[in-house]
């Protein structure tokens, strides 16, 4: 995918930035024992995330289930209201707009959902589903709408004659194409893909990923691409942000992140990629993290990763590290860690002989 020149830092070069997220916080109230006491608890789904999405790039968002990736995505598209923080889209602050005033922005940003079964209304015909954006925004009607819907179907590789079919009559991959067609209908600038391929068969995943890549080249789209499959993310992304428990722990250009991961969590994630022996050398040893992801209701103090981190020291539980460029890193590479991993350093168990980082 077309990489825009590596501009330094997460901020800067305002002209390039399509979406700017500043200190975004999203908490969900948890109903706990309302009858007695008022222990009002909150899940800190996203806690103080700042990042930029540059025009024309694909920003990958990775992390374990429950780390807040999807919540962040839904905050960016304003499906959720923010608890605090700011989202700027194309220079306009959209973080506090009402639903009515958001409508013009809805034309410009769309989502593709994870579950191609759940994202399409089973009771409606495909033509009507893809035509929804036109109907909602009163753009094209009647014959004109049908023509445009069929164009879209062709664009994403569906047979336009299947206009009158129901979602149940399509395979998973075809349904995801329907979702893509719907997202493209209004020529958006930004498409947020929430795990668009993780519910699909592996052979179909590649088709959809390539379709998205082709469309990006053709239509100049910007993607925020969420996934937990690192090899997919690596394939599509220009830059990758790694999230852990509601925070971005590391962000870097794709190649840089894979060749020089600085955060121990990123290292652990990367080591979990099942490696087929490509270049003859043994990969870095698998880093097995102990314990579970802590509850986002009561996150650990200091660095949120410290209870599971092989490098954790006293400072890690006392003071929260900030996301910043570490010594020796390329511009645009930032990690939130007090003791970033050095090249060649071996983390965790068991040390494999002849490790090349």
């Amino acid at each position: 995918m077309s990489a825009t020149g590596a501009s330094p830092g997460t901020a800067g070069h305002d002209g390039d930035v399509l979406v700017r997220v500043e200190d975004l916080v999203k908490r969900f109230p948890v109903a706990s024992d309302r009858l007695f006491g008022r222990a009002r608890q909150e899940v800190q789904a996203v806690d103080g995330v700042s990042l930029d999405v540059r025009r024309g790039e694909t920003l990958g968002l990775v992390g374990e289930t429950g780390c807040g990736k999807s919540t962040l995505a839904r905050c960016i598209t304003r499906l959720y209201n923010l608890t605090s923080g700011r989202v700027t889209f194309d220079g306009d602050d959209i973080s506090a707009l009402s639903r009515r005033r958001l409508r013009p922005y809805r034309l410009q940003m769309q989502m593709i959902f994870q579950d191609p079964y759940g994202a399409l209304n089973p009771r409606r015909r495909v033509g009507s589903i893809i035509g929804d954006p036109f109907a909602i925004h009163g753009i094209a009607a009647g014959v004109e709408r049908k023509r445009r819907v069929q164009e879209l179907m062709e664009l994403v590789g569906l047979n336009p004659e299947h206009y009158n079919r129901f979602p149940a009559e399509f395979s998973g991959g075809q349904r995801q194409r329907i979702g893509v067609a719907r997202a493209l209908a209004l020529h958006p600038k930004l498409i947020v893909c929430d795990e668009p391929v993780s519910a699909l068969d592996v052979s179909i995943q590649a088709q959809i990923v390539n379709l998205l890549a082709d469309l990006q080249d053709e239509l100049g789209l910007t993607y925020v691409f969420i996934a937990h499959d690192l090899s997919v993310v690596r394939h599509v992304s220009d830059r990758i942000a790694v999230m852990y428990l509601g925070k971005v722990v590391e962000i870097a250009p794709t190649d840089e992140l894979f060749s020089r991961p600085r955060h121990p969590y990123t290292n652990a994630l990367l080591s979990a990629i099942p490696a087929i022996d490509e270049e003859g050398g043994a990969g870095p040893g698998r880093i097995v993290l102990g314990g579970d992801v802590p509850s986002p209701i009561d996150p650990p103090p200091g660095c949120r990763f410290h209870p599971r981190c092989p490098k954790a020291r006293q400072l890690c539980s006392d003071e929260e590290p900030i996301l910043e460029r570490k010594a020796g890193d390329l511009p645009g590479h930032a990690a939130a860690c007090h003791y970033p991993v050095e090249a060649g350093e071996e983390l965790g168990s068991p040390p494999a002989p002849g490790v090349v980082s």
């Binding site: 809805r106 959902f113 209304n121 009771r123 409606r124 925004h137 129901f166 149940a168 009559e169 979702g179």
Partner: protein, 317 residues
């Protein structure tokens, strides 16, 4: 969803489909319809219901053919010398009642009342229930708490006491009976619709509609409502017989249709003193009521099965 696909193959093409329509997918409705058409019980019930409806519609014709008005008393031909109802004869096909009126003609006119009360009350109840349930489920929060409690209150009402109280103030009439029936029936529909809405609104396609900028109303009626139609239709076919029985109950107690207008309920009430000597008097309206409600209930079951052949019940009875 996948099951629907396999269902398509299993069903095959009952009526030879021209290839031009091959790309026209069959909607869940068409699938349900195809299943329903092969369900013998459903067909039998439909025939029965249509017959009863026909009887109701042509009641004046029946009266004309029999030569007896529904409220005319045939004191000399219709009653025995002792003043008791006469049994079935060539003149009165299913006998007469205690006032010498033709039971057949009266039952036919009673069908008008029963069907009218059943269909109108059930339709009103379903309409109100859908709107309230959809609003409560979709908006949630305080709206939901208020509406859900309102439904609880209605469901907790002692309906007979309420009906007696209202009728004693306003005076009995068919219109009031229908209003009372509808008032006590909508909450059950509202609950079902609310529950379904709660689960449907979490679906990703609702989120997709929201991300496209759809309004609340559009989401409620374009995206959610079509998914509710099946349970609502089933509920409607089950509410109609309930409303018919409800009306009969009210009329039986003298709270519904006012004599001499015939209704199955008030005919049953009048016949109770004569069941030892005039079995036809109690049997004919009773059987009419039973057959009608049974046909509607069985049809409702069949419709439910047709929409949901896997046996995953939309609601328990």
């Amino acid at each position: 969803m996948t099951q629907l696909g396999t269902e398509l193959e299993l069903l095959g093409t009952p009526s030879a489909e021209p290839s031009a329509e091959a790309f026209e997918g069959r909607s869940p409705w068409q699938l349900a319809w195809a299943r329903l058409r092969r369900d013998r019980v459903a067909i039998a019930c439909t025939v029965v219901i249509v017959l009863i409806a026909l009887v109701a519609i042509v009641a004046p014709l029946i009266a004309h053919l029999a030569g007896h008005g529904p409220n005319t008393q045939y004191l000399d031909t219709g009653l025995t010398p002792e003043g008791l109802p006469r049994g079935p004869s060539s003149q009165f096909l299913v006998g007469t009642d205690d006032l010498g009126r033709d039971v057949l003609v009266r039952v036919a006119y009673g069908a008008q009342i029963s069907l009218l009360a059943g269909v109108v009350a059930a339709t009103v109840a379903v309409a109100v229930g859908v709107v309230v349930g959809l609003t409560a489920g979709y908006f949630g929060g305080a709206t939901d708490s208020f509406l859900a409690r309102a439904m609880d209150v209605v469901l907790a009402f002692p309906f007979l006491l309420f009906a007696i109280a209202v009728v004693s103030i306003v005076g009995p009439s068919l219109r009031l009976a229908i209003a009372i029936i509808a008032f006590f029936s909508w909450a059950a529909v509202g609950r079902v619709v609310r529950g379904q809405t709660l689960s449907i609104k979490e679906k990703e396609y609702v989120e997709a509609a929201r991300s496209l900028g759809a309004s609340d109303l559009r989401i409620m009626f374009v995206d959610i409502f079509p998914n509710l139609l099946a349970p609502v239709l089933v509920y409607l076919t089950l509410l109609i017989p309930a409303a018919i029985v409800f009306e009969a109950t009210l009329s039986f107690l003298g709270l519904g249709v006012v004599p001499p207008t015939p209704s199955w309920g008030n005919m049953l009430a009048e016949s109770l003193n004569y069941y030892r000597v005039a079995w036809w008097f109690v049997l004919v309206p009773g059987v009419a009521l039973l057959v009608t409600t049974l046909a509607f209930n069985l049809l409702g079951d069949s419709i439910r099965d047709a929409f949901d052949p896997r046996g995953e019940r939309l609601f328990r009875r």
